[in-house]
């Protein structure tokens, strides 16, 4: 016994006893009904009867019915029409219908299948054939019933596991991002540390030079001047590098601190873009190889949003643009913000390869990607290449703000994403 598990799909599948099945027999001729009823009841099934289409539908709706055996040629409503109606009604559409018919030519069989019948039995009926077909279909039906039961359970499991998948994929992507960021932090750190050490050595040398009673009787003024300039330069270097470091850390902090509070706040769209751009400068490819045309409104743009989510949207858009321009001679990203009625518009245009017309409706689908999956043969320091979740997440975040994302693209010329976000209150006149 496998009773300890509550999950139905882990239980072995068993077909119920024949006496638990109810079969409806539909025929306008008593003799035909009698013949079938006799065979089936001897076999152990329960049966009920209808002598026309209307009655059959009524019986199928109101009585437990596991299988229908039906004549085709009946007055008023024939078998085809009856079957069609049964299959249209969600209360009866899963009951298998077997036609019992003398019309076994292709045309009629096709017609039967077209209205949704599962099978047919030729007339005159043969006992063995009736038993075999009925048993097959009841088994199938029992299995189907079980499956639809599993399905509800499965849907929950699938929904949960795909959510889990999205989470882990994103986490993997985030791990990559963290690595990239840490790598970027090391640059300025190397400068700061090295500069202070170099500065100390230089100062020691100056001290030696000017110390009375040192190696030389008189300090070499030009040497001292040169060393002093060097020390000052070292300190300047350390200072700029620590500024760079602070900027990176600040934008990291704003990312992670707001990760916890996920309530929309009043923000300035332009300053989010500016701080993200500053952050992206840490990416050497972005810094050196991408031309940027930035055209933001002079006034701040108040919107209600969650800062890290918005930053994420922006990052996704930019990394898609960078990917799309990979290897192109002209790599330009144009970023602009505009105001229109009660909306802020953020427009991001690239000069990349564009999106094929057959793909344009798919790009927001989860897991749709034209990029290779991330693997060892493709170690890219700038994060995931092609989980296909980027735009899906973007659209979700923007829709949550009651906004929308529109895309325009010409294959070979480039792509523009227009992101529309409702304004939060009036624009300050500053």
């Amino acid at each position: 016994m496998q009773q300890e598990t509550s999950k139905p799909f882990l239980q072995p599948f068993t077909v119920p006893e024949k006496s638990e099945f109810d079969i409806l027999i539909v025929d306008d001729e008593f003799v035909n009904r009698f013949l079938l009823k006799d065979i089936l009841e001897q076999d152990g099934y329960r049966t009920h009867e209808a002598n026309n289409g209307i009655e059959a539908i009524d019986a199928a709706v109101h009585r437990k019915t596991d299988l229908i055996l039906m004549d085709i040629m009946m007055p008023d409503m024939d078998g085809y029409e009856t079957c069609r109606r049964l299959k249209e009604d969600p209360r009866t559409d899963n009951i298998p219908v077997i036609f019992v018919t003398a019309l076994t030519d292709t045309e009629n069989l096709v017609k039967g299948f077209a209205v949704g019948a599962e099978d047919y039995l030729g007339k005159p009926i043969k006992e063995g054939e009736v038993r075999a077909r009925v048993q097959t279909h009841l088994k199938l039906k029992a299995a189907m019933d079980k499956i639809s039961l599993y399905n509800e359970e499965l849907e929950k499991v699938v929904a949960e596991s795909s959510r889990e998948l999205i989470r882990t994929e994103r986490q993997a992507a985030f791990g990559q991002l963290i690595q990239g960021i840490v790598h970027n932090l090391k640059g300025p750190l190397t400068t700061i540390r090295g500069s202070s050490q170099a500065c100390r050595s230089t100062l020691k040398m100056i001290r030696n030079e000017i110390e009375p009673g040192g190696d030389s009787p008189l300090p070499d003024i030009s040497k001292v001047a040169k060393l002093t300039d060097g020390a000052i330069k070292a300190i300047d270097l350390a200072e700029t590098a620590s500024g760079r470091l602070t900027e990176m850390i600040n934008s990291l902090m704003s990312k992670s601190s707001a990760d916890q509070s996920s309530k929309p706040e009043r923000l300035d769209l332009n300053s989010i873009i500016r701080s993200e751009l500053a952050f992206l400068e840490g990416d050497l490819h972005f810094k050196h190889h991408i031309k940027k045309n930035i055209d933001l409104t002079t006034k701040p743009i108040p919107i209600l949003a969650i800062a890290p989510e918005l930053a994420q949207v922006f990052n996704n858009m930019i990394s898609n643009a960078i990917d799309a321009m990979h290897g192109n001679a002209d790599q330009t990203i144009s970023i602009s913000t505009t105001l229109n009625n009660h909306y802020a518009w953020l427009s991001i245009t690239d000069t990349g390869g564009g999106i094929a017309p057959e793909n344009i409706n798919k790009i927001f689908d989860p897991f749709f990607t034209t990029k290779p999956k991330h693997d060892d043969s493709n170690p890219s320091p700038k994060g995931p290449i092609g989980t296909g979740l980027g735009l899906y997440m973007c659209l979700r975040s923007i829709k949550a703000l009651n906004g929308d994302i529109l895309v325009e693209s010409k294959k070979g010329e480039g792509t523009t994403f227009n992101i529309k976000i409702p304004l939060a209150g009036p624009i300050e006149i500053s």
Binding site: T190, T191, R193, G194, Q197, A198, G230
Partner: protein, 141 residues
């Protein structure tokens, strides 16, 4: 202390701040230091001018420092190469030595003076080898 001839050092890193910092650190020494922020240009310079030592980063966008190392060693095995990297991995380290680097330093550096000490070590080696080569050349005349 070794007799420090004015050995020529080329320092390669795509981060200009780090280049300035290293230039600073070498200021009190007698080495003749040149810096360049692009590995491809670095290789051109090595082909066209004489350098005794190269100190190169590994992660650079235009060319991997390990590739630069191999090209340098292939071009002139006498040039001594010191690697530096922020990407501290076993494979980076093993590859650096496999391809003939004399040393490797990890960013941020423990102590910048270690790099100068490494250069001094290379200078001792070059002094010795050069003096032997010099004698050999004399004898051949």
């Amino acid at each position: 202390m070794p007799e420090k001839r004015n050995y020529k050092i080329l320092i390669v890193d795509d981060d200009k701040d780090i280049l300035s910092m290293l230039e600073m650190a070498f200021l009190p020494t007698s080495y003749d230091v040149t810096t360049i922020d692009h590995p491809l240009q670095a290789y051109k310079m090595i082909e066209n001018e004489h350098f005794d030592m190269v100190i190169s980063d590994i992660q650079m966008p235009q060319m991997d420092g390990l590739t630069l190392l191999r090209k340098i060693k292939n071009f002139n095995g006498m040039i001594q190469v010191v690697m530096m990297t922020a990407h501290i991995t076993i494979s980076n380290t093993l590859d650096a030595f496999r391809y003939g680097a004399v040393d490797i330093f990890f960013k941020p550096f423990e102590d910048i003076n270690e790099i100068i000490a490494a250069a001094d070590g290379v200078a001792v080696k070059l002094n010795r080898v050069n003096s032997i080569l010099h004698k050999l050349a004399e004898g051949e005349k």
